[in-house]
Amino acid sequence: MADLTQPIQEARAALDAHAVEIVKWHFSPETGCPFWLDWAKEAGWNPAEEIKCFDDIIAKFPHFQDEWLRDKQPEVWVPQEFKGQPFNIFETGGTTGMPKQRIGWNDYKVDYSEFSDSLDDKEFPRDHYWLMVGPTGPRRLRLSIEHLANVRGCSCYFVDLDPRWVKRLIADKQFDQAKAYMEHVVDQATTIMKHREVSALFTTPKLLESIAERLEDEGSSLYEAGIRGVFCGGTTMDPQYTRFLVEELLENKIGFKPTYGNTLMGLAKHKPFTPEDKFSITYHAPQPRAALRVVNPDTDDLVEYEEWGRVELTTLTKEFFMPRFLERDEAIRRPPIELYPWDGVAEVRPFGAMQKKIVEGVY
């Protein structure tokens, strides 16, 4: 194995420099947003001066409260430089009540353009057609996927899935309705695949399973339908399930890119599988624009490598600063790799999944 000491140090230095730059940006009156400027006044310290590295953020900022994204009007998050420019409003989660909202301008394009560099042209051919089957609506994902396709010279078909409705159906034990809705989504997806040329598919694991099953019921398969690359994300994929997707549905012939991302972070890249991984998926954050830590939920300390902990996200872009947000996920902490010389998060699943039943639905 290559000596990663230097790449790790370089990545760390880049993260530290980026953290200082972004904090200065958000906490300087000439560039910052009203929310953070007001926050600093109340906090009684000046992050623009006191944050000297990424670890200072961890040491000095409290956890970002998701209520702030629900309760505050969107304009409080507008940095001075973006003032007057209309923004996208993206939402996360939200089965009932007010959802979390994040505003943005170009971040999603940057995140997904970067992600494009990790794709293999054989699996995700350029100048072709994609299909996204998943949550569109107010989510960042829809524009992001279309941008990602466009960056690669492709155009994208869309079939919508409303995860909020599915979660409600499942929580209300209306399983027949949930199944019927899923069938409705699969109908639309396979119709597009039958009548149009599509080589890349972005969907959730459960929908992927259902789409593959439908195609096979009709004597076809994902590969025969023309699919050469699949992005999958949104719900838990443990190693056995991942192996099942890769070996059985994708027949080891279709490229598989598991994804971990959300409106608040962007898109994490996964460590390319090696036989030693045994289908355990590890994601690495798009550092330095976002950093992931796996922490002990009781002490907030980093857990040891290969130990489970809660996922903590810090987002560091000029559009959005979000320190130490505790995701509703838990994961195994994994060490840096040559391709991504910073910590990874593996086998992500809902926080407390071992203790309680989590409604994930088809999303």
Binding site: E213, E216, D238, P239, Q240, Y241, R243, F244, E248, L249
Partner: protein, 481 residues
């Protein structure tokens, strides 16, 4: 420690997810069992027809002989299991260690399974009511009385969602393979032993391995088995029974609420039946659905309860390897405590008495498992909460109830042993649709005649009798072959 794979139509599949089977007393890991995910079964079910096709290449009469050979192998041979092998003694030890059942009872269950496999021809004859086996093979034919008949398989495979706590239930699926129907088995997490040992014995005896799939897993695998197999047998609670009520694809085996009913004509001689009552309550750890959970009589109930308490109350917890051990451990954490809590709460009701109290504490909690010693309650009315309850240990309520109200008040009853010479009452009992297995006379609830159906005939469940008309010439041509 053994590593046991998923079996996909007989082919081992090393899952990346495993579940540990633990010794209930020592905590030793006995085996790591590969866990299937629902998608695997969904895909494999596309090939379910091959399971039946493979079996249809072997005549039923030959399959019956194969079952006999398999029975001998199951009982006596060292057979492959996962990455190791298993002798008959290993099997009994392992099953006892994970289920909490005493070892000698595991061995008794082996003999029971062996008996069923070894007498498959008679059992088959009884279940099919003497049907010419070639008619079942062919799907149609002419009975001896000259009537054309047809039996159509309703599914190429039978799905079984098996329990962890009652190894006795496996006899129910033994006749399936000779009916040329494949098996999809979802073992109980603590009892993978019987399905895998049966698979090994069956295949060594000549059953095509592609006829059987074993898919261990959690609740989602059970649900997938139910949704994917055209015919499924499951084991569960009263609620599970309700959930699947009216679903012709699913045969549910729930609690038995089996009872002994003492007729007014013999109740004054109740002492003559004390052994029968105690055996029905206590034998085979009292865990089975055919164990007695209620003794009903119109009088002498307090004395009966006292006598039963005297008989079964003193039984102590013994090591599962002890040949005298009579109680099975509760291996699921918190289960025994919760059950005992329910019993104590029930005893708060006026008219309900805990009769075994004087024989010492019932709940015994060990480091990794718990026991509840035999418990006898008395209810002076059939309307009390505890009058119709069942728990998976030797537990019985002796209920005072007028004979004329008994049939209605006992509710759903798997086995009713009515001890009476009153033919009028016997006739009413015969007509009572809330009773499944009816014993009239001094017969313990646990005495099973294997030639009789259990909770419905499995033949009727798997095959549909239907009209089949064809010119006589064709009929004769096919049937004379």
């Amino acid at each position: 420690m053994l590593n046991i794979p998923v079996l996909r139509w007989g082919e081992p599949y090393e899952s990346l997810e495993t579940d540990e089977v633990i010794h209930h007393r020592t905590g030793e890991v006995l085996a790591k069992v590969g866990q299937a995910n629902p998608g695997l079964l969904a895909r494999d079910m596309r090939k379910a027809n091959r399971a039946r096709e493979a079996l249809r290449e072997i005549p039923i009469k030959d399959l019956i002989e194969i079952m006999k050979k398999a029975g001998d192998l199951y009982l006596n041979a060292t057979l492959p299991l996962g990455d190791g092998e298993q002798s008959p003694d290993d099997f009994a030890r392992q099953q006892s260690a994970s289920t909490g059942l005493p070892e000698h009872m595991c061995k008794f269950n082996m003999e029971k399974n062996h008996f069923v496999l070894n007498n498959m021809d008679q059992i088959f004859d009884a279940l099919t009511r003497g049907l010419d086996l070639e008619i079942l093979e062919r799907g149609f034919g002419v009975e001896e009385r000259g009537v054309p008949v047809s039996y159509q398989a309703q599914s190429p495979v039978l799905g079984m969602v098996l329990p962890s706590n009652s190894p006795g239930v496996h006899t129910l699926w033994m006749p399936v393979i000779p009916m040329q129907i494949g098996l999809v088995l979802k073992p109980g997490p603590q009892e993978p032993w019987t399905p895998y040992r049966m698979f090994a014995a069956f295949t060594e005896a000549g059953v095509p391995k592609e006829a059987i799939g074993i898919y261990p897993g959690g609740g989602d695998m059970g649900a997938e088995t139910v949704s994917r197999c055209g015919r499924v047998m499951i084991f569960g609670s009263t609620q599970t029974v309700k959930n699947y009520s009216g679903n012709e694809q699913v045969q549910v085996h729930g609690p038995g609420y089996s009872k002994i009913l003492l007729g007014d004509d013999i109740v004054d001689q109740w002492e003559d039946y004390l052994d029968l009552m105690a055996d029905s309550i206590f034998k085979n750890s009292g865990r089975g659905c055919i164990n007695c959970s209620g003794v009903w009589a119109s009088r002498h109930t307090e004395e009966i309860a006292e006598a039963l308490a005297e008989r079964v109350g003193p039984y102590e917890v013994k090591d599962p390897t002890d040949p005298e051990a009579g109680l099975a451990a509760f291996t699921v954490p918190g289960q025994a405590e919760a059950i005992w809590g329910m019993i104590e709460e029930g005893c708060q009701e006026n008219g309900t008495t805990h009769v075994t109290e004087k024989h010492g504490a019932r709940l015994e909690q060990l480091e990794r498992c718990d026991y509840i010693r035999p418990t006898i309650l008395h209810c002076d009315s059939p309307n009390l909460k505890m009058a119709n309850t069942e728990y998976m240990f030797p537990f019985t309520t002796v209920v005072k109830c007028p004979q004329e109200q008994m049939i209605e008040k006992i509710g759903g009853t798997l086995v009713a042993s009515a001890i009476t010479h009153d033919e009028a009452w016997a006739a009413q009992l015969t007509d009572a649709t809330n009773i499944d297995r009816l014993n009239i006379g001094a017969i313990p609830t646990i005495a099973l005649n294997w030639l009789q159906p259990h909770e419905g005939s499995i033949v009727d469940f798997l095959f549909r009798a239907r009209a089949y008309q064809t010119p006589d010439e064709r009929l004769q041509r096919h049937c004379s072959r």
